[in-house]
Chain length 370, copies 5
């Protein structure tokens, strides 16, 4: 799923197409029947397991056979199963069986069109959210769905393809002295979510820079392209907002802490990340306000330009149309036009026309049109 | 009831007419007196019964005599009574008597102007909602009311005419191993509602495609027809939103599960379909936002075009009006105009006019009007 | 009180004047001091009593002496006191004494500027609401306040003048087998309110028809009169909404059923009429949306027309102004203008002008101005 | 504090200045240190005491020494201390000491920039609200803060200067048979608040009349002055709304009745006055809606006028510019222009021009421009 | 962080840049790892301690070694630790260790992009809010984050650099008789917050003055610069609102008083300062309303000017274009034009033209264009 935020190119309209990523393929199937809903993807699903017990080194393995996961289900210590790829529904289904995940939970994992939400399914907590990524050239915002399942002493994450977003968490996991090792699986889940939410700020920063550039540009040159850029930025903001808004409620629900899976110590951290989503939303709202103001500025810019154009036309026309009439009068061929024979006729007409012009110029200056 | 979403034809305004489907025919009648309120319809009411017990094959019968229903009222196993046609109030009333349905419930069944709602009437749960259907050519959205009554071990559905929307449910019912057979009537009711809500996505997808097309079209050619198409799409969105919005609350109420008719196992499924309505609403809101932006783009497009037209007029007029004045001067017939007799008078005037033109062109270029 | 909805006449602005029906006449008087606040009205107050006991025929009497009411206060069976006229405060006060009505309740009865509300005053329930009536020619909506007092086994209604709105209820009362006779006073109160709310649909239907007509008219001819009609319709919608909105809360409060005066059986009926108000509000909101869209359509219609006018002007002026200049050149009277003496001078100039014209026409066609 | 509502004069912008009545004079001072914040005022503070016991006549005294108040603190019966003037903070502080008022309460009394609020401070209830007064010429709305302190058997009111607003209450107090004498201090407090809220209706009525006048005027003549009047009225509405909105919550809190200082009997009265504030807010919202519509009407009026102007210009220019070109052609001085020598040349040209004109007139009529 | 409110200069757009003060520097770091997020700052962190016991003089010390703070942790009496500078994270971390502050709390202290919030972390209450400061020349509003930590008998405040905002509190602390000395640490915390909120009024006053000036200016001269000033003021209001809005909730939470750290006596004061934030928000909303109205006034001002310009053009063109045509007719060189030879031809044409002009002038006057 891709939300474009390229304010300086032609709108690619990806936000809209992205949304319609064919959820209808699923109609008529029973709930719980796993059908992948998302972009076409092929290739292997990459499953990595991170496991550690107190004081031990971190064990990191890429699994070749998903059945090996069964060993980790009840292993003591802390386990993180990092599943990269959700299009292989058979494999996902097998992981679900191993960990006794609820069918609806699995269905959400393989459907890329989820809103952020927090649910408790039996002995698992389930959080879906969107990860935002700036593309390499910085002009696009990509959104990717991440599902986090929290069990008694393990965390399972599902996402579409391997990303380096979680690398800092991996590094901290590798450090036996880190808080992430001392706390349980709930803290690990928090750390992952926190990393994703921190990324929102990075993406918004970039968007903010673009909006700022645009703002200067709109004042300097209110062209049609600027307007399309503004609309493009507005759309990206709407898109990001649509993703973050439900996350706020999901994290609030998670931070309420009425489940034994989340220990009391971890609650302040969850409330902190909830607080971060509030800040993200605040920032988005401020940007939207700025974008709305830019449209208003553009509109008044257009009006002002039209006014200016009309004023020039009016001044020119108002001065010369009467003069042209006057010279037309003395271009008539009546035989009986005494003025034509006056000695000072021509200079007199020129004088009258000069006086008229001066009078009109003064009139326009008084009106502020010059 | 028909909500038009034909963005490329003349607005048919059906959404509005549809709404006024003469509810007033009922004024003055006692509540509970069954009066059909809806489009004129004739023909037989088609009542089908699906019945199965554990392990048995699915029994499917089209009833010829409604009295046969009495046998199913207390029959063990799972029964689905599928009533297609609600204009025969006598028949509907008789069905109500057989299953002891509350008079107000029946009144709602035969009145096509209900908002989606969930109610508990004695031993029955009652859910009304709208089914959305894309017409064959894809240009129209039809809305049809479906009433779902959930009893202890039976489900009764009422709709205006037989549709193939529920076919997938029928197929799953026929499979003895399907979850729908293992769970009770509440799960069947859920499956029916889920099918309807999944259809919303298909309809929205189509609407989304049309909006996307429109968006490209508005940029390429901001014509009057485009605008009417946008307004038409906006109206369809308002219409769909009006139908889905109350459904959200109805499903939330149903998912709260404070009734013995809904077993604990089924609640996550109900919450899931509730979640789907939230997604539908999200999508609608995004589309509405897009539509509003399109109107803004159209408006600025119109302003820009006017600006362009005015600029051309002003440039032409500003250059030629003074020139015309000058040639008018030397078209005057004063006998005493020495310039007329100068040898280089004519070329000099042409030169002055050329210089004026060049000056004005430079002025316009500096202003960015050329 | 009169809310105009005449979309095809000059706005009469009654909605606004109506609202200021001099509530200030009351300032400084103690609360509970009865002062009629409403339009000037004279004539007798018409008090009718409907009384029935189980199985008996309905007794219907027009009272000549209000003291006769005392007999009904504690009479067994069901009594409906229908008071038509509230300007005779002495009489209203006396009725209040007979039935021990709270002074504030009476004060509200004689003040026509109430919002819809539901209150419990000691042993009485009190509901104020607005009845909407389409005038005979259908162009006006009249609003009239109805007060419903529910006592243990009687209902008292107050309204400004006798209307036939309640006739259906009267007919049903006369039928000993009707549900209205079998249930108690609370059901009678419900039936009256239901009749009023059903009338809202009739009024809205008419308004909807007018809006639909307007919509077609705006597209065909965006004239000034159309706009005033739209604004008029918008105003009527605001007016109706202002009346229905608080009714929703009042009926929700009444349907909560925490009073012995409303039996458990009646609650579904009250919730049903509450549900109807929700539908009324939905419809109003959809109409308002339509009206807002119509204003937008009108505005863009005006812009488009201006564009068209400007385009015609620009095309004409841009073609002929340069031509006029050219012919002006050869109208100059310089003695030394060799072209004038060329044999093919005149045809050559005509040719140049023809070529210029063709070039400009092509230019305009390419811009889409022709 | 003065909110201007002079729709027919130049905006005085008082609403905005009024708001900034230098609350900053207080920064850095400890809370509870009494500093008068409001317009400059001098002169004596006028303290009046109204005292009555059951059956006795009303005792009314203007105090010369504030210490006399101490006698009333514990006197049986009902006491109303009416303090007119709050700029003498020493005196106010002394009154506070005598009645043991909370320092924050006193601070609010002498600060004129309070929002309406209801607070319980120990054994006192405290209500602040704004009194609205139409100025003598009816063109201005003045707002004045009134503080009402309710003690066990006394009421203390503070306002900036003596007003006749409370006169009706004084009259009713003087009548031993009045309800105000039979009920306690809470009822007296209610009566005072009710009088103030009733005044809102009078002020709104006047505002409504002005808006109505404006509405007719905008249609008749959409001039710049009208627009400023509309904006002025809008601003007055915003101002009044800002005052009434928090009062609604304050009275709702007061009507909740969870304090022994308010007896059960008085609650319906408080709820009644709360209800009145709802009506005031309804009315304000309707007026704001009307004002917004008037701005829209004005805008479209301006657009329509521009359209009309442009149409006239276009018709004239489009007819005469080609004609002028034609006559220009035959004003050229080529020696070889055969038409000039034709016998019917001149009439033929006149004929061509007449035909052109007729054709254009028909074209314009078909377009609806004439 | 700087919010510009310079209505008379070029927009500096600081509000937007300020917001993006690189929170992304933190991504990937574990929560609780202290990283300063804010403007570049160097220099020493200035830590001052104010300590007093009952009856004693105030002890005020600038600390050179942060370890000295340990002595105050459990010292009886009242202690205020005033930390000016938050960029030295090692020092902040050490202070946190000494007072056992929660890691998340410290993280918020050193991150300048917090929303106002109130949190309870173990035995500490934590309030973050923004202090608003008008710059020396009054044209800029600066916002600076202040963190207030309330412990059992001490208050710790953190801010970016030493300011004189708290001077009044310091003075009151020095006075042994002041309420601030008699109450505990919670009252001191309140006094600090109150001082900050009082400052909001001063800042808003200044903003209000600027808006008022602007309002007069927009009427007098609706130029492009005015519009940018309005947008600038709007943006400053959005910025201030974004800061104050969450403070309202934070103070409401603090005033709820469900912690032993806040004594019952202090609650009214906290509710009072909460009330002040409501007033601040009211004022902001009124200003925003005013700003929105000013944009509307500007827009209609632009439209009116365009109308005026067009009217002048149309009047001039409509009068002179036909006249020019007429004189063109008699400038034609047909040999057979009898009028040219009439004795009164020339005067007759002049007369016709005069009559036409008078007719058109009357026409324009009737239309109100003159």
């Amino acid at each position: 799923m891709t939300a474009n935020a390229r304010p300086h190119g032609r709108p690619t309209r990806a936000p809209v197409t992205a949304r319609s990523a064919r959820p209808s393929r699923k109609i008529g199937l029973g709930p719980g029947s796993l059908v992948y809903v998302g972009d076409e993807i092929s290739g292997f699903v990459d499953v990595e397991v991170y496991h550690c017990t107190e004081g031990s080194d971190l064990e990191r393995r890429g699994l070749t056979d998903v059945e090996e996961l069964a060993a980790y289900r009840d292993a003591p210590g802390l386990t993180w199963v990092d599943v990269n790829g959700v299009h292989d529904v058979a494999l996902i289904g097998r992981i679900g069986e191993i960990f006794s995940l609820h069918p609806l939970l699995l269905e959400d994992v393989v459907n890329e069109n989820q809103r952020a939400k927090f649910e408790q399914h039996g002995e698992h907590l389930f959080l879906v959210l969107k990860m935002l990524l700036s593309s390499a050239d910085g002009d696009e915002i990509e959104a990717e769905q991440v599902s986090v399942v929290l069990g008694p002493h393990y965390v399972i994450t599902f996402q579409k393809r391997a990303r380096d977003t979680f690398d800092p968490v991996r590094r901290r996991l590798a450090d036996p002295a880190s808080r992430i090792r001392q706390h349980g699986a709930d803290y690990l889940a928090y750390a992952l979510v926190d990393t994703i939410v921190d990324n929102y700020f990075a993406v918004l920063e970039r968007l903010g820079d673009q909006i700022e550039e645009l703002e200067d540009a709109v004042i300097a040159d209110p062209s049609r392209e600027r307007l399309e850029d503004i609309f493009e930025a507005k759309r990206a903001l709407v898109e990001v907002r649509r993703m973050v808004w439900p996350l706020r409620d999901a994290l609030a629900g998670m931070g309420r802490g009425d489940t034994p899976l989340i220990r009391h110590d971890t609650l302040p951290y969850l409330r902190d990340v909830h607080d971060h989503t509030l800040r993200v939303i605040d920032t988005i709202e401020t940007y939207r306000d700025t974008a709305a103001t830019m449209v208003e500025m553009y509109m008044t810019g257009v009006s002002n330009r039209m006014n200016e154009v009309m004023r020039v036309l009016t001044v020119i026309a108002t001065i010369f149309i009467p003069l042209t009439f006057i010279v037309g009068v003395y271009g008539m061929n009546f035989i009986n036009m005494p003025e034509l024979h006056w000695r000072w006729g021509y200079p007199a007409v020129l004088g009258v026309m000069g006086a008229t012009t001066i009078f009109l110029l003064m009139f326009f200056r008084r009106r502020g049109w010059l």
